[in-house]
Symmetry: C2
Subunit: 240 residues, 2 copies
Amino acid sequence: MLYLIGLGLDLKDISLKAVEALTKCSKVYLEIYTTALPYKKAALEKLIGKKVTIAVRETVENNSKEFVKEAKKKNVALLVYGDPLAATTHISLLQEAKKLKVPVKVLHNSSVFSAISETGLQLYKFGKTTSIPKWQKDYKPTSFFRTIEENLSIGAHSLVLVDIGLNIEEALHELNEASQGKISNIIVCSRLGTDEQYIVYSTLKELLKNKKIQLQVKEPFCFIIPAPLHFTEAEFLELF
Amino acid sequence: MLYLIGLGLDLKDISLKAVEALTKCSKVYLEIYTTALPYKKAALEKLIGKKVTIAVRETVENNSKEFVKEAKKKNVALLVYGDPLAATTHISLLQEAKKLKVPVKVLHNSSVFSAISETGLQLYKFGKTTSIPKWQKDYKPTSFFRTIEENLSIGAHSLVLVDIGLNIEEALHELNEASQGKISNIIVCSRLGTDEQYIVYSTLKELLKNKKIQLQVKEPFCFIIPAPLHFTEAEFLELF
């Protein structure tokens, strides 16, 4: 059996069902290539009472067949920060498992997709999600901004994820370049669902120059570009 | 302290953090007016080792001030199926608590917003969420369909929630009336994230007349109206 287990957003967000499943597993992998964890691997190992093997993209994605095959003979768990299927990359594991007739159990958990409700914005009003890729010297795609514009055209908020390895300053810079002055207010959410949760609502212009705010933003973080606000949303955002 | 605790989708989806918080609470409420639970209250009480008081809308929403006040003197928990802030109604509790200076902790959990990834559709491609209200004899709003059309205009999938008290037959009927032949394929998801999970991908026309499928759909359930599919999404949907 292959268990795809969501860790949720904080160390102790793991579910009773997951803890139970882990007792049956002889191998436990931890996926760390799609998101940065807000806690140490050792703390997780202590909590679940199991040694955890770091899974790199090479193992899980590029050799997904081999990875899934291991779960044919024994119980294997892949721990994923947030919800295990929020990233499309893990959906392909389900398909691989179907092909190889390996049974899979998915254990969902909280993720950034629900925790953004902490901003007071209505989850119902979020449109498509996009993400800011790390720009290379000669490859600087701005197409992620098109999704934001599409969402704005139907009055939908945009959740903007930020690729791993991109710091707040770089991410704000890329957003600024791509948007070419077309957006004003943004929300930055850092470490949602943890005791270190930090939310700031400001203008992109202000955030670009405010190093003090930037220093308070830790991984994982994301942006929200709000569409026109309902008055209860506006009222709530004033708190940040 | 007021704890807003997400129960996730299945009985044992409750987190270690939540179990820990509950040991500190002298009063535990269970919210059952926004979603139908797929398990019995008694099973939950046994699991957490606490008596649970059913919270009706009258108590939490209409008398939110009184409700929050109770948490001024003691630790009170409100258990909510799924994620506690997914429904806007609980965001207003946060605001009330701020006004009354009652500290609040939100413990997120999995919800239908992430579990729809079980369909193989990319979470990134979901647009705004809408819900089908229970029609009254002389009030039959179809405006929820506008959101689906807006989403389709930008190539986004639509998650369509179904109001509590509406059975599958009624919900399909309302969707059919409101859409006036403008949609073909739909996905029905029943009891996502539980062992009874049931997903069906078919045409609205077929589902309307297929009583055998309808009988397999239990509360809670939701619909998804897919936008044009990526080939990996199409491939995955063929499994259902």
